[in-house]
Amino acid sequence: MREKTDAELIESFKNSDVSGFNELIRRYQERIYWIARRTVGTHVDANDVVQDVFIRAYEGLKYFRGDANFYTWLYRIAVNVSLNAIRKKRIKEFLPYDELWEGIPPSDFRADDPIQRQEYKTILEKAIQKLPAKQRVVFTMRYYDEIPYEELAKILKKSVGGTKANYFQAVKKLAKYVRKEYDT
């Protein structure tokens, strides 16, 4: 059977068919999770962001006019919710970004602890946490999701040139950090 398009699922949701929305969650949950995870840095926070994103999408979907792709609209929500989560966490914990995203495992780190294993990060993932929040978002969406610059620009409400520049700067910073980590 042919898979329904996003537009068809949205239409059925607007006609009170909740299963259409559930299918949209299934379709996008992993992508939203990884944007959130790489932006906010931990599984626990990313889990909250994913739920918040879909709850806001659920509430806002009736206003969605279809002018843009659904995923552009959804990603924009994900970016806003993720950045907001960072802002709230920073305020709550009174920590500057650098300290909050140090990415160095604590001395009592236990790899066999399921909770701690969730927070395991590769060198690249640690490096991403060193980036300014908006560059984290740009890098994640371009490097992992390969979103075209034109769509990225729409999601971030920036110019295409500005988005390319942001991605390049992010890659340069990451390259510097990763090389340093591998050298030590």
Binding site: G60, R76, T122, V171, A175
Partner: protein, 205 residues
């Protein structure tokens, strides 16, 4: 291609994510530009280092449980949940509007002090809450085109903006504001003043 164009394309070039034309343009530029070549070598070694990194991923059970969790939270919200901004923004707005309508109907004071009362309600709203609130309006497309890129409100029809804000407040709080009465009771100038306050809160500079 200029050096800047090449730099901005390098990451995609090195990962094979460019068109054939872009590939040829970058390759030809690198053949003659030492600076860009050096940049390319640096990025190339980076991509080589990270390409096989394996990251932790949640279990299948995690993905299966997302929908039930979201449905549960939606159900809880229907019953009891009011978002923080609604408590801090929509409810003061509702109180202000109720007070205005009450004052107008029963005391018939003239001129109506809508602007002052709403200003007072808005004054209590933290800047970041308002920023977040307006972003959400923009996201859901309610007042989308009326929000410019830097977050300021740029519509000429301030009454429409206020109406939309209040409508969304209604939806989110599941309460009923008599926004038509509010809008009937304030002048274009007052609506304009209120929107100016919103703009200043969004962008104090």
């Amino acid at each position: 291609m200029t050096c800047t164009d090449v730099k901005y394309t390098l990451a995609d070039y090195l990962r094979g994510k460019v068109s054939q034309q872009e590939y040829r343009d970058v390759r030809d530029h690198l053949a003659v530009c030492e600076l860009c070549r050096s940049e390319a070598e640096g990025l190339s070694s980076f991509f080589e280092l990270v390409k096989d990194e394996k990251h932790w991923t949640p279990s299948d059970a995690y993905w299966i449980n997302i929908i039930p969790k979201i449905q549960q939270r939606l159900e809880d919200r229907r019953v009891k949940y009011l978002p923080a901004w609604a408590v801090r923004f929509a409810l003061p707005m509702a109180a202000a509007i109720a007070l205005i309508i009450f004052s107008f109907k029963y005391f018939n004071t003239a001129p109506l002090e809508t602007n002052q009362t709403v200003q007072s309600a808005l004054a209590q709203l933290p800047q970041d809450e308002l920023q977040y609130y307006v972003e959400q309006q923009s996201i859901v497309g309610v007042i989308g085109d009326q929000i410019s890129n830097n977050g300021s409100i740029v519509s000429g029809d301030d009454k429409v903006i206020l109406k939309n804000i209040i409508q969304v407040g209604n939806y989110s709080t599941e309460s009923e504001f008599d926004y038509e009465s509010l809008l009937d009771s304030i002048s274009e100038q007052e609506a304009n003043n209120i929107v100016s306050i919103l703009e200043k809160k969004l962008d104090p500079s």
